[in-house]
Amino acid sequence: MNVIEIENLSKEYQTPAAKVRAVDGVSLRFERGEFAAIVGPSGSGKTTLLNLLGGLDQATAGSIRIAGTDLASLRPGQLIDFRKDNIGFVFQSYNLIPVLTALENVEFVMQLQGRPKAERRARAVELLEAVGLGERLDSRPGQLSGGQQQRVAVARALASKPQFVLADEPTANLDSRSALTLLEIMERLNREEGATFIFSTHDPRVVAKARRVIWLEDGKVVSDKTQEPTI
């Protein structure tokens, strides 16, 4: 079953010098439970594509349907609610809320969903234990290493039980060991939680872990292959 259907998607930016087409006529399908990497050099349109998929940015042309819902048909408030319930985000520079503890950061989205305290507490603890941070529940982001913060971010992304998780270069700021740990966690949670993981990267370690690799160049899909993870 297709979770995401992208049809002829384009995004143009007007810069002082010229009009730039960051995403150019992209059409893709993602199924439930996929673990896919969007790969390409800097400026190839990876982040723009993820932002469009996450409903953070608006396409110039084309459409994105997630579980049957056309993102373009949603009003801003509906889009926020849609993101809250269906999409998890992992950002390159962690972007945890600094005044909240690891536990509270993971609970945050569930709190926005209005889930009962006991339920969200149990889910947050379960996820933090799953990412190996069961002992750091009450630590604030400033007290955690980059790798630990990114693991909290992964737990946060999965907290709302989203249909898919978008991760924008999740290992870019991590050392090899932390990156590998994070990838293993993401892969395991992908299997256990059943959520689709789509991440942009130009890190070969991440590409090697992906079961599907989509190559972008100048905003266009130049290759879309499934593979057996090699690491």
Partner: protein, 406 residues
């Protein structure tokens, strides 16, 4: 909501130093505003009590037209019905009848135009505290033909206790008024003008001198709360017999009202400047907070926090900051105002003399009213609201992608 408040509270302590500086600016503004306003209100109250309470009274009943044309032809016939109507008002607790006129006062060596005030000595003393101001002698006896002379007038006329003062004037309906009276006391009146021109005698003697038996020029009303002079007079208008009017002190002494109003205006100007400076401080803090946390706000929106919830959180931060500063300012000001309310500052030297010349006790009293504490809180709340307007509107228009790139 409690989670938003929790985050707001933690957020304001992210930059402890900046929070303390901003809260301190609110604290000092509230502190100075309360102390200054307390001093102003205390001073006005003192001024009013001295100038109005001591002579004019907070309200008077007069014959219609007397205040504009002070002739005995405009004096009033004080009937039992009029007295009943006035005393029936719940705020009126007493009456001080007076008969005021003008005469030429002469001693052996000098003469001068003076005001002659006929009073019931004991009743007048309860309001004007004449006996406290006596320099020598005593008050005139209740019905006696004797006079109490103001200090500087006595000096001018070169008379003292036991001397005789001649009064020559025009009585009611043009009858001549002439009499000679022994001086039984010298009194120092706070107003320099009155101190150089007043002669007190008994009401009966004044009425006899001016051939106006049974008539009065005014009846001063003693009120349970002087702050209600204006509404009381307005209410009395309906019940007074025809031809009589009730006038509050604000109408009797418009120059004092103007003086207070002009002083208030300058006080408000200073407070306004103070609050504008604090307002810009709060505004600057908010702008810095927003600039620093733009990316974080983008993340919050990306994961599903609505703009309104975000604006509520930042608004709550400002309210907490403002409340913190306001409560601290009130807490700092309260003991000081309380102390100075019970222990007014005593003025000395030229300043004291200047106040004495105005007929005002040379002290700086402080008023203690819960009202202006509440007002300061409301002012700071309004200030926070105005300073927050632009930043909060910018949150409501925040673009997620731009914020995430910040």
């Amino acid at each position: 909501m409690s989670e938003i408040l929790k985050m707001a509270w933690r957020n304001i302590w992210r930059n402890r130093r900046r929070t303390l500086i901003t809260a301190s600016s609110v604290l000092f503004a509230v502190f100075f505003a309360i102390v200054m306003r307390s001093m102003q209100l205390g001073t006005y109250s003192n001024m009013t009590a001295n100038v109005v309470g001591a002579y004019t009274g907070y309200a008077q009943v007069q014959a219609q037209g007397y205040w504009d044309d002070k002739t005995l032809d405009n004096s009033l016939d004080w009937t039992p019905q009029a007295e009943q109507a006035v005393l029936a008002h719940p705020r009126v607790v007493g009456l001080v009848p007076r008969f005021d006129s003008f005469a030429l006062a002469a001693s052996d060596s000098s003469s001068k135009g003076v005001g002659v005030v006929g009073v019931l000595p004991a009743t007048e003393d309860s309001m004007s505290r004449l006996s406290d101001k006596l320099l020598e002698g005593r008050l005139p006896a209740p019905t006696a033909a004797e006079v109490l002379v103001a200090e500087r007038l006595a000096v001018f006329l070169k008379i003292g206790l036991g001397d005789t003062l001649a009064l020559i004037g025009m009585g009611y309906q043009g009858i001549s008024a002439v009499g000679e009276y022994p001086v039984v006391g010298i009194v120092r009146l706070p107003s320099p003008q009155l101190n150089a021109s007043l002669v007190y005698t008994s009401l009966e003697n004044a009425q006899e001198l001016f051939a106006a038996e049974g008539r009065l020029t005014s009846v001063v009303l003693t009120l349970d709360d002087p702050d209600f002079a204006e509404p009381t007079c307005a209410e009395l208008a309906a019940s007074l017999p025809e031809g009589l009017v009730a006038l509050p002190w604000q109408e009797l002494m418009p120059e004092l009202v103007q003086q207070i109003e002009s002083d208030q205006a300058s006080g408000f100007l200073i407070l306004g400047i103070l609050y504008v400076i604090v307002g810009f401080g709060i505004f600057g803090t908010l702008l810095m907070m927003l600039a620093e946390r733009r990316r974080e706000m983008g993340v919050m929106m990306a994961v599903g926090m609505g703009r309104r919830a975000l604006a509520t959180m930042v608004g709550a931060e400002m309210v907490l900051l403002g409340t913190l500063g306001t409560l601290a300012g009130m807490a700092a000001a309260f003991p000081m105002v309380l102390y100075l309310h019970h222990n007014p500052i005593l003025l000395e030297g030229e300043m004291a003399q200047a106040m004495l010349n105005l007929g005002v006790e040379p002290i700086v009293p402080f008023a203690l009213e819960p009202g202006f504490f509440v007002w300061q809180g409301l002012l700071v709340a309004a200030l926070v609201a105005v300073a927050s307007l632009h930043p909060l509107l910018s949150i409501l228009k925040l673009n997620v992608i731009n914020a995430l790139r910040a």
